[in-house]
Symmetry: D2
Subunit: 469 residues, 4 copies
């Protein structure tokens, strides 16, 4: 939710299950647990052994499936998707999984990530007479697979994947097989679990907990996993590179109860708060966190610093899609949005306010101001991650560089802009310490938005272009 | 939200504003901040000086007003209501404020509370030829006022209030005045604030913070406040008794950022947790709270005990009205509802689990079981209030005595039923210590549901009957 | 439909059935056949022997009941209503049947007609402390009945009916009886039928045909009919006056397949056309009628005159409620509304155009112009009823006198205004000849809107006031 | 409407306009007038000079566009479509115009007709790696055009049209041109008109009258018309064969006010009735028609025979999509569907009942029975077209041969089945006389469903296969 305020938006979550008689229902619950990864649309494709059937729509999982009849969505196999859509691709035709039928069989695709060479590939396909119906880069992969022959198999998928460049996690379903594929740098998360005899694949492990499944392992960078009634098989479509899991998944995007690369997200955030307390302590009466994503780091900061942790900001849980935003005039008169300070707590106090990140700075400024108006004596802002100075080309919809406050201002300037007594960011070292438990397992993270060091580039490109998830 | 699981449901919140040109919009935001007090229906009546106009509907404030045109709801005065409805009174005709028109003028009523003699009064009115159109006890008061003559004034309202018995907070609007009235024991909360020159009245002070208004004072027990263009006037319709504010408002119902009787709710909850840690410590590795209402007490318990506070249970924020509940079979296979344990945190640990109250015990058992399945070694349940053993007749929809686990079982039995290593409740003394700052101001609380000591009874009644809010 | 163009609007149709196990469903079909009598709202109240239950809503019968579950609307007895609402009374609370509950029983009322002294009665009731919830005059009758004692019986109903003045047909339902009442002049239609052992009452006999019931007799002026499990009983609440059935029911309002006073409506309209051909023949090539209500008269005119009857105007059957009306500019460019001329038929021809009535004249002018633009050489307008010069106070929503073209213009002026070659109206004698078969049965009609001779007046009134249906 | 009862369903109507600033609105009105050609879905694609934009949906034109904002659908050019969908193709993705975007431009297609070799062409396209997204044969044509090169021009369209076999009328829109094409036998109707300087193309001329446009000429068999800012140009993509306009368009499908091949539909139907009266007179008291499509023929029969024309059957105008069909049990008890007999007219009379056609015979039997139950002494059924004994492969969704009553029964047997006193059909000669004014213009009609003589066959086919519109 806060995402909308911040301007960091995850793009999509995928879920697949093979071999459970209530596949569609379990996919519903799995998608539900990953709702934070995309609120614009949701869909499920089931395979009842005879044909693939889709139920998709715009909106939250709840809304899309409120009139769904799961007894119509029979079959032991399903793939699902929750979608965050960028401007311009909001049509229902872009809601995934995309389902393609032909006289010889069907194929469904669900994707989390971003292809950097999508426009080029699209142009080439059209030149050969193909008609593309969506603005989704997922459709481009489907055409590449089909152009390799009517058969959807390991070979044609591998060949197609070798043509695309970017960060991606794909689920591909056909009548007799389900495929899971991860980009060669392993930037996006994708895990495999089991539920009884059934196999489950999901963007986040919280989906496994949601349905009572057990985590088995992560899909590896450059790996193509095939799941069928014969079990699970693995091939490699690209040389495995050093895994570079997206740091923002830990900092902000994933759910606290998920494990990424076997590291719990809440625990890593708490460690970020602890590292931050070591690096940048503050003289204050209490620590508060900006709900919801900064609570873990705030608890960590409080524990490390010995300051009491308090509930100084409250979030209105009922601010839904139809909430009428107060006009500028009313906001100036003091009408609050979804966050409100707790006057009885903050009045007269020196406060350490923990936030997970700052994008444009407008939200931070508003919260600091809110706290001051409620009587806070001092507000020391501590950010539990390094500053974001670069755009992401791997599937996260951030603001452009022009809008990124840290790309254009020093920390002192930021402090002045947001009106705090002091501002500090966690160092990149502190971040790595908090995330990486074991260097063998976890060779690195992608922190390109903080460091500018991009692990994947389109060959020969002069500029990194951003298209869509 | 958890309320639905627990079976404790607040009944209604009221809001009124006199003298602001954007009265309807401010009422919308005010109601929004009190959405937790009632999710079944909402309404606003505006007074544009010429006539009273209503916009009402079933559902959340967001839903009811998503197509509202505030430019049609003009006027400097408005009253609003959020409603929780008991079984049987779910029709839209029961959504408040109730608006009554006549050839000589209109009257709108909004109510939070419960009349104990509503059935008797209804029968008497019907015997005299009155036709009542709703099953709401608020309509009964309207008829009593009208029977006192066509004029809606202090006299006719006072006379009508003297006929009703119960716990109540009323807002009554007519063309030239707004009235606020509180029952003689002051069981339900009702506060007065100011926003510039405008007067505001609300069930909870969080509504004042929401719109930028300043708290002035509480409406007093037995007081009838009149607000008009001439300002604010006060009369007394009943002898003031010792104020007995509902303890459950502090324990569970109100928002943490509200002040009741000038006591902040979060702070009082944190003190409940601290008192509980003193009364009933536990050998454990961490303290966790059941979200959302028990977080404050859990922080207090952690601070007092020196144990780390952890996020051991996570709540899915996207579980909305249309969420498809998992079947019994799926739940047994491990499909979670809106609460989920964080395996990475609780695995192998001894846990103090703080909850604010136990009603039927089914939710507590489910959460304990969830934590154990996620690997918790021990679960020590600590309840931050005394046990609930009696029904409420003053406007809270609790389970019947037969369903109340504490009415029928000892603490040891409860411990066995819910499968915990140990269970302790806060003492009534501990509760009073946590709530009452100043005995002069705060002569007492109503804790009838815990102690059986009911402050208000219908004269001559042999049994306390419960009707509706 | 055309009604909306014309500005003549029937107000309401009623239907009741006693003693059929599928009472609600049959009421649905009965109301459906009377949909032309009111398109603003519809409702059914069933009596399952224990309690009265209502299902009501705004819109067409189809829309209101599309989600109705008839298995919830069980019971052998039902009353229903279709409503046309005047400006200002469009709220769903005004949709009938009105249902009033009390501790001693319930009462439902459905009404077709208009009370002339409604405002006066309403004021008196309010002075006595009654609260009225709707702007419907039907509620006034309910209060009058209740004021006569809690029992709803022949006596209290008769006494209440003697206080109201106007034209009305009521159905009143309580747990053990259904009552049907007609005003002392019998201005509005109301008939009794049988379906097996069940009794049926309806505004029009087409409702009997719709459900396979047989016509028994009409309710008589001033009669109160009681239907119960004991059968049918009749009392008289007023001296029977000469029956004065509304002439507009024959001319325009009723369905052609209904019989009113045992006279078939289509046949009477055909006779109006024949009388008109005798009174005002025209030199022409063909006769055409304005669909739908003028077709019968056009056939009659053609048959009498020997001219061929042609389909010169076609009506678009798909013009529904959401049809986007063409802007003035587009209409001037030739974009048609729901009526269109058939160029292939009218081009180069001299035409007799039959219409049932002219209210404001704007529609007639538009149709004549349309025919001319499509190539008609001459258009001779023949109106199959006398000219309307006076408002109706008995339940038909006509334009005010100021708007009535015939109240302010001579026939020659009208001819010029609408651009026809000639215009003639049927004489009042011709109308009576066409309607009245048997003077004993049919002592007269109410043609006040044509003649100014009003059969019912409020005693002592200085001006006839119009309120609502 | 009756279509649904009968089982004859037109498939689609098309409309296009080039050069009017309110193109989308005029298309709305044009489609509206052709609503009878398809009620399952509707759509408009506008061209604002920069890009093509679509607004489409399931349902009636009214419903699809009720929330449309025509100020968003700007542009001087638009094409529209109303769709009747066969089982299995009901998804919104099949609603036309289909819109295909590519990096070099867009193309929209609207189609009325049926391709007989669609399955074969679809298979060939898929073998070459194409992905088709709909089950519409219109998409097949789009792929054929694109495969001919990225340019959508006369050449690539002509080449694609020469690959398809069937009956069709296409509108194709690209940024700078609009194309209209008709199959080589001219089976489906398609006309060109003008509105000021704008060109209009439509399936029926009633669309021209609706918007005030003037008829210019029909598109010729095998002609490809190009409309652009340079005006109108014509090329021939196939040798012109003898025009064989579908006879059912005259008999039943088209609106009475349309002209097909410059023959007015109402007039041709009236002549069918007259021919029928000459061929098969009957001793009777009156002539009645089954509304709405048989009224013209009934008037013709009455005029020729000298018998009076009466309104013996009435159609309920309010039977909409959500009408709850009476159960078999209720129908047996006499509850009527949308047609009802007028007892007051038919009782005791000998009746000639005119219908335009009989498909399965069930409706005819029901109507005859209804008339008898209402007291008709004799019912002589006269059908104003020859009997239908063969399926249609050219775009009309008729019942299969097995269901066609006339394919399996003699006229005497039909008479017995439907319970009439006598049954006669119009002869094929009589039909041709009624339709064909001028043999030069109108070389013939397609009456394959009556005669079995199919004008278009897929080369080398052993069986004629039916796919979809």
């Amino acid at each position: 939710m806060l995402a909308e305020i911040k301007g960091i938006n995850e793009e999509c979550g995928v879920f697949g299950i093979w071999g459970h008689e209530r596949a569609a229902e379990l996919t519903y619950y799995g998608l539900h647990s990953m709702q934070h990864r995309g609120q614009e649309g949701a869909g499920i494709v089931v395979n009842d052994g005879m044909e693939l059937k889709a139920h998709k729509g715009l909106g939250l999982v709840n809304d899309v499936f409120k009139h769904a009849n799961f007894s119509d969505l029979t079959g032991n196999v399903a793939v699902g998707h929750v979608r965050y859509s960028t401007q311009g691709g909001k049509g229902v035709e872009n809601v995934q999984p995309l389902l393609f039928r032909s006289q010889t069989g069907s194929m469904a695709l669900a994707h989390n990530g971003n292809l950097m060479n999508e426009q080029k590939l699209r142009g080439e396909l059209e030149d050969e007479g193909s008609i593309l119906q969506t603005s989704s880069d997922t459709e481009v992969l489907a055409h590449l697979i089909r152009r390799n022959g009517m058969e959807t198999n390991e070979e044609s998928i591998s060949s197609a994947l070798n043509k695309v460049v970017g960060a991606y996690a794909y689920l591909i379903l056909k009548e007799d097989k389900m495929f899971a594929a991860l980009d060669p740098s392993g930037i996006r998360p994708l895990s495999i679990g089991k539920l009884g005899d059934a196999y489950v694949v999901a963007s986040e492990t919280c989906a496994f907990d949601q349905i009572g499944a057990t985590f088995i392992r992560e899909v590896l960078p450059g790996e193509l996993v095939t799941i069928s009634d014969k079990g699970i098989e693995s091939t490699r479509f690209a040389m495995r590179e050093q895994r570079r899991m997206c740091a923002m998944e830990y900092v902000y995007l994933s759910r606290p109860d998920s494990d990424l690369n076997e590291v719990n997200v809440h625990a890593s955030r708490k460690r970020m708060g602890m590292e931050l307390a070591k690096e940048s302590p503050a003289e204050a009466d209490m620590v508060i966190g900006v709900p919801d994503s900064s609570i873990s780091a705030a608890i960590g900061f409080a524990e490390e610093s010995g300051l009491p942790y308090e509930m100084g900001i409250i979030k209105n849980r009922y601010v839904g899609r139809t909430f009428i935003q107060p006009s500028q005039e009313l906001r100036e008169q003091g009408v609050k949005l979804k966050l409100a300070p707790v006057r009885g707590i903050v009045e007269g106090k020196r406060i350490v306010m923990i936030d997970d990140s700052i994008v444009r700075g407008t939200t931070s400024r508003r919260i600091v101001q809110m706290l001051k108006e409620a009587g806070a004596k001092e507000v020391h802002v501590r950010i539990a991650s390094p500053s974001i100075q670069n755009p992401c080309y791997y599937g996260i919809d951030m603001s452009t560089r022009k809008e990124l406050i840290a790309a254009n201002n020093s920390v002192d300037e930021i402090c002045e802009i947001i009106g705090a007594e002091s501002v500090s960011y966690l160092s990149i070292d502190g971040l790595e310490k908090a995330i990486i438990k074991d260097k063998t397992l976890h060779q690195g993270i992608c922190a390109a938005c903080m460091t500018g060091n991009y692990p994947v580039k389109e060959s020969g490109q002069t500029e990194i272009s951003y298209t869509r998830c």
